[in-house]
């Protein structure tokens, strides 16, 4: 522990955000960029060490721990913040700037957290700040979607807190280290924490908040959202659960189901959200395999993915900004008026597909090789299928249906200069990392003795991608490729958006009916009783009518005679 002054990573951005509302509108956007850059500078000057060991209520906290794993994630989060800040220079909404800056800063702080309590604080902060990027769209859909997002994200935080408490009670420590000992079973605390991480990482069945919320944010908001939450979860899994075999299978499932949904989805940003889910699957498989090559692959893939995913969201955001929609049914032929955006989008599409000379090639292949080295044949096959699937939706569908295909007649202006600059920088990084990959490899957690550009790798990857493209041409020519349609596709969000409300509504109908019926019966019988009493005591009723004197004397005589008889018997 150093005695010098140190600045917790991300704090410059979180605290700086609160100054923004006091600045002029135009200055705010630039301030976001300046603060993010300053934070990167400070981070670069922070040596690898543990800082901020403090005792709080008898618990040992380590506010910041910078090592090779947190360093690479810290760097890429900063780069994502800077690229997104450039992209968002047109935004005149203070809400979005404050939210974005706090969000990015919290993610950086979280990936450098040395103990679970600090992690929890930053974890919740990312959820609370990012929801404002969704609400900033200022429409009913975005409001409701943001609510669902918030509930799910805070739910993840609650699970994390429960896990932390269980762990503290069991072990007396809240250190953020590996939770699963070699070959050991997971205890209750580990399971709770895994679930919490899994929600934020969009594990299957817990994933739909991603496709629900991300397309509802503003163009620049979604670019910010795409970079942090899910990759923070990847970091957390890599730190806490490396080599957990369960994650290999979870990751395989994650790479497969989104590519099927992406084929039939109309909103292109929702397609990108499914694509994000698929790419996270690659990373989770890498964590599950757990060897040095696999973890390196996960870190490298996260690094490259953040950049090319941001690039793809930026190009779609530019289309949304200029055209007003990103629905495939309403786009097409935009390459004529937005050639630069088209070009940058295609660089991103090539990068995510893993074309040689682009960043995806040098990162994804590490995970595939790691699977190969462990002789996990079916995992390797699944990852190959997933790679073909990525080519389908991100490599071909996104650029083709937005910018080519049939002419929609729309002639929007080219994207504004600052967006073009952001996209150019991101595209440049995709190429740089692909060509000069040692620059990336020296930041990896473990020493990387890996050579992606072997003849075998290059040729087989080109075979996969080019024949996938050929398949697309074949399907289009034969009319077998499904047409883009305006539709909603049901995913697991149906459960809490339709099934639960229906059950509750149905339940209230049944119980309401029963309640009404019972009340009616009770009141009815009470009323009948009262009616009966009234009849009896009314003017002509048995107890109410006036008896004449004659009848009275008659009955009195009978009664006396009866008594006389009884006396003499």
């Amino acid at each position: 522990m150093t005695g010098d002054l140190f600045i917790p990573p991300g704090l410059i951005m979180i605290l700086g955000a609160w100054l923004l509302p006091f600045l002029g509108r135009r200055v705010q956007a630039w301030s976001v960029l300046v603060l993010s850059s300053l934070s990167l500078l400070a981070f670069g000057l922070t040596a690898a060490d543990s800082y901020g060991q403090i005792e709080w209520l008898g618990i040992e906290l380590v506010v910041a721990r910078v090592d090779s794993l947190s360093r690479i994630f810290g760097v890429i989060f900063h780069l994502a913040a800077i690229l997104s800040a450039i992209y968002a220079l047109h935004v005149r909404d203070a809400r979005q700037h404050v939210a974005a800056l706090v969000y990015a800063g919290a993610a950086i702080g979280a990936c450098c957290a040395g103990d679970l309590v600090t992690l929890f604080v930053y974890w919740e902060l990312t959820a609370l700040s990012s929801v404002f990027l969704i609400w900033a769209s200022d429409n009913e859909r975005a409001y409701r979607s943001g609510m669902r997002y918030l509930i799910i994200q805070v739910g993840s935080g609650v699970l994390l807190l429960s896990g932390i408490i269980v762990r503290y009670v069991a072990t007396g420590s809240v250190e953020f280290v590996r939770f699963t000992p070699e070959g050991g079973a997971m205890d209750a605390a580990a399971m709770l924490i895994l679930l919490a991480f899994g929600i934020k990482c969009a594990f299957p069945l817990l994933h739909n908040w991603l496709q629900d919320a991300y397309p509802e944010a503003t163009p620049s908001g979604t670019v910010y959202l795409s970079g942090f939450t899910t990759k923070l979860a990847v970091y957390a899994l890599a730190r806490g659960f490396p080599g957990t075999e369960l994650l290999i299978w979870v990751g395989c499932a994650m790479t497969l189901f989104p590519i099927v949904y992406a084929v039939i989805e109309n909103d292109l940003r929702r397609v990108l959200a499914y694509s994000l889910n698929n790419q996270l699957g690659f990373m989770v498989v890498g964590i599950g395999i757990g060897t040095e090559l696999a973890i390196n692959g996960t870190a490298a893939h996260a690094f490259c993915h953040i950049i090319y995913k941001a690039l793809l969201f930026m190009s779609m955001g530019a289309v949304l900004y200029r055209v007003g929609t990103v629905k495939a049914t309403e786009l097409g032929g935009l390459h004529k008026s937005m050639p630069w955006t088209t070009g940058f989008c295609m660089v991103g599409a090539g990068a995510i597909s893993g074309f040689p000379l682009l960043s995806g090639f040098v990162s994804k292949s590490m995970i595939l090789s790691a699977a190969g080295e462990q002789h996990l044949f079916w995992v390797w096959i699944v990852l190959l299928i997933a790679s073909a699937g990525v080519m389908e939706h991100s490599g071909i569908k996104i650029p083709f249906f937005a910018f080519f295909a049939h002419d929609s007649g729309k002639r929007p202006k080219e994207a504004p200069p600052h967006m073009l600059v952001a996209m150019a920088l991101a595209a440049g990084l995709c190429v740089l990392l692909g060509v000069a990959y040692p620059l990336l490899y020296r930041w990896l957690p473990y020493p990387a003795d890996y050579h992606p550009y072997t003849a075998a790798h290059v040729v087989t990857q080109l075979q996969l991608l080019l024949f996938a493209a050929l398949a697309f041409v074949f399907l289009m020519k034969t009319g077998l490729y499904p047409a883009e349609q305006r539709a909603t596709n049901l995913d697991t969000d149906w459960v809490y958006r339709r099934a639960f409300p229906m059950l509750i509504h149905g339940g209230s109908v049944v119980f309401g009916g029963l309640d009404r019926g019972l009340r009616r019966a009770a009141l009815g019988s009470l009323q009948a009783f009262l009616r009966g009493v009234r009849t009896l005591f009314s003017e002509h009723g048995l107890f109410g009518r006036a008896w004449s004197t004659g009848i009275m004397t008659f009955w009195a005589t009978i009664l006396l005679a009866f008594c006389l008889l009884l006396y003499y018997l």
Binding site: V263, G409, K413, F467, T488, N489
Partner: protein, 91 residues
């Protein structure tokens, strides 16, 4: 680069990418590239194959084609189950 915002019917002059002869040329180039890339399998040696299948001739080529078609087919099938009207959740 056009800066005209008015949306009008498709231009009388299609762009380079839209002219049928160029589309034919691009597809032809793709087929040629595919052929080259498969034949390239004969010219190198894979020194560290992890699986036998990896070294069979043109494996990732036909696998990529089949996987692509399969994913699209699954998507078309999935659509019959999950497709609803666009305003399904807003009603």
């Amino acid at each position: 680069m056009k800066t005209d915002q008015t949306s009008h019917e498709a231009d009388a002059a299609p762009s380079w990418f839209e002219r049928p002869e160029n589309i034919r040329r691009m597809i032809l180039a793709l087929c040629v590239a595919c052929a080259i890339v498969v034949l390239a399998d004969l010219f190198y040696e894979n020194h560290h194959p992890h699986f036998d299948l990896e070294t069979s001739f043109g494996f990732q080529a036909w696998f990529g084609f089949v996987a692509f078609v399969a994913v699209v087919a699954l998507g078309t099938a999935l659509r019959t189950v999950v497709r609803r009207e666009e305003d399904y959740y807003d009603r």
